[in-house]
Symmetry: C2
Subunit: 329 residues, 2 copies
DNA sequence: AAAATATATGGTATCGATCCCACATTAATC
DNA sequence: GATTAATGTGGGATCGATACCATATATTTT
């Protein structure tokens, strides 16, 4: 791999001139430019990004922190970001926390040390340690999925989406509705969605049966077991289930089928996520499309905007959502 | 952010000594080491990775090129790699080609320029331009999913997996079997799986009906339409379908359900992929588990091995597979 | 006690770019 | 035609680390 010095010598100019050609900056005569470009083409020269970064403090790399890379939600998010970032010549340096909150902090530090030009964090919690770290970081930053004051956010409208979905079940004449949620430390998915469910039930003066409210973790098996508990833990059964993610709903449906409950006649089911297969289940699953890919794009756009304009006012983007009413309700 | 020079001054030693402490190299007195470590802790000093990389030519970054980040296959692969790489302090720089073959070449170049310590390529083809580029690259490299001479490979046993699956359908007394494949330019998924199907059919002297062999692309919709063509394009119907990926099978199943064919009584269906939902379909899908996560891990291990031992002999790892026989056949 | 070796430390060059300033030449303005 | 401004080019310093060599002292070996 050749260096700028060699290119300069071959083209009979100084390194400065080559640098000017490379960056299209300052004055360069047409003649010199052509000679330099010719040599660059002939030698397949590509400037060292390390040297460049050391000098300019820019890396053209964006750090992306996700709680997992296995799920559709995450991969769509990343795909959306990549779509926007690649267009501006940025690449993604991936950091996977495996749902480990400690690691969120570690990676924030690591990415900063790696001099990424910006960070996008798909957050799973809003605890104080995280908030403090984010504010101290001094790197352009966008957080997806959790509202944190003082930093830019791309937010899903968890509360209203969950409310609409609950309302839908109620409008379908359901009076006995179960709920499969997750840890409330996850404010968006755990707390807000549950709160919306509770509020909507209360506003419609519908009783909430405690045994029908179950907490699970983020996988299909866990949804299966939550459904099992709902069926076993009380004498009566609900006629509808609200699961906070598609995977939980899929697990729940699987349990129901195996135990000869008909969906939706014996039990209706609805969830949030709009996973690709939700449409291809039997029956197709009623769900909310959060358009994760769009969320990733929005986050990336926000970040690009901050990078270009150097501004550090934090912005909030509240994303829309679409109710996909299908045969499971 | 402070520099090594400042740390040296604060600790009353030279930059060289600080560097020795940081890298645990050469001779450092206990006394000096302690003073330096104290200052490092107090100032939260972290050495600039750019400067270090510029000097050492090492980045602790591995470039990963994938054809998409949306699918389960890819995200599992990446998850597996991350698992192994993170353990050795490497991070993943992601490059998504969006199924664009040109971009594979571009990204290989870009990653090299970015001085990644190694590259893992989840390849979708084996054309000459790619092979040439790979050989010219001079960066430790592992290719997943396609066999390319002279470079290290982690391979799925596409041929035998497809053979076993075809054989399974035959053993279930099927004599009329359709096939939904993809472009044969993808040697592994397109060509080998099809060839195994054809060979197995021939070996069992079962006639192959041309209209029942359809080519699709990698999504659910495409599987749906391929199934539609199979049903429409001839007077007779097959009694079983082999789809080369789960998503194609899911699409096919959806078509069958909508048109009141019972799976597996009217039409059996089997595929390759072992996607998470395959287990939760109605009926559960018979498929082959390639253990993509393991593949990612193997590829990363192979790469780590090359990096440590500096050796450049190319190795081949042929992965096992598991037939998951479920109710769809 | 001298020679050889191990331990400890610092200084300078270097990696490969960009930035800034000095200087030369050409063009524009009065 | 003199002054100012625009254009073009090169050289040295710099980013922040490591590599290598020189030198000083402590410890072993003969």
């Amino acid at each position: 791999m050749s260096t700028i010095k060699e290119i300069a010598e071959m083209a009979g100019v100084s390194r400065s001139t080559v640098s000017r050609v490379l960056n299209d900056s300052g004055y360069v005569s047409e003649d010199a430019r052509k000679r330099v470009e010719k040599v660059i083409k002939e030698t397949d020269y590509m400037p060292s990004v390390q040297a460049k970064s050391l000098r300019t403090k820019k890396t053209k790399v964006i750090g992306v922190i996700v709680p997992t890379i296995r799920t559709e939600t995450s991969s769509r998010l990343v795909a959306g970001m990549d779509h926007v970032l690649a267009a501006s010549g940025y690449q993604i340096l991936l950091a996977n926390t495996n749902q480990n909150r400690e690691k969120e902090l570690e990676f924030l530090q690591l990415l900063k040390v790696r001099q990424v030009d910006g960070i996008i964090l798909a957050a799973t919690n809003t605890n104080q340690a995280l908030v403090d770290k984010l504010k101290a970081l001094d790197v352009p930053l966008v957080v997806i999925g959790q509202e944190i004051d003082g930093v830019s956010n791309v937010l899903y409208d968890d509360y209203h989406a969950a409310k609409d979905l609950t309302q839908l079940l109620i409008e379908k004449e359901h009076k006995r509705i179960g709920f499969i949620g997750v840890d409330e430390k996850d404010r968006a998915v755990g707390y807000l969605r549950k709160q919306a469910f509770i509020d909507t039930m209360n506003q419609n003066t519908i009783n909430i049966e405690k045994n029908w409210i179950q907490e699970a973790v983020f996988d299909i098996q866990s949804g299966y077991r939550a459904m099992e508990r709902i069926v076993h833990d009380s004498n009566e059964r609900p006629t509808a289930i609200f699961a906070v993610t598609d995977r939980l709903a899929i697990g729940a449906m699987q349990y129901l089928k195996q135990h000869n409950y008909q969906v939706p006649t014996d039990m209706a089911i609805a969830s949030i996520g709009a996973s690709e297969v939700s449409e291809h289940m039997t029956p197709p699953l009623t769900t909310v499309d959060y358009q994760n890919e769009l969320a990733g794009e929005e986050a990336a756009k926000l970040l690009m905007h901050e990078l270009i304009n150097q501004e550090s006012v934090s912005k909030k983007v509240m994303l829309g959502y679409r109710l996909l009413i299908r045969d499971s309700v």
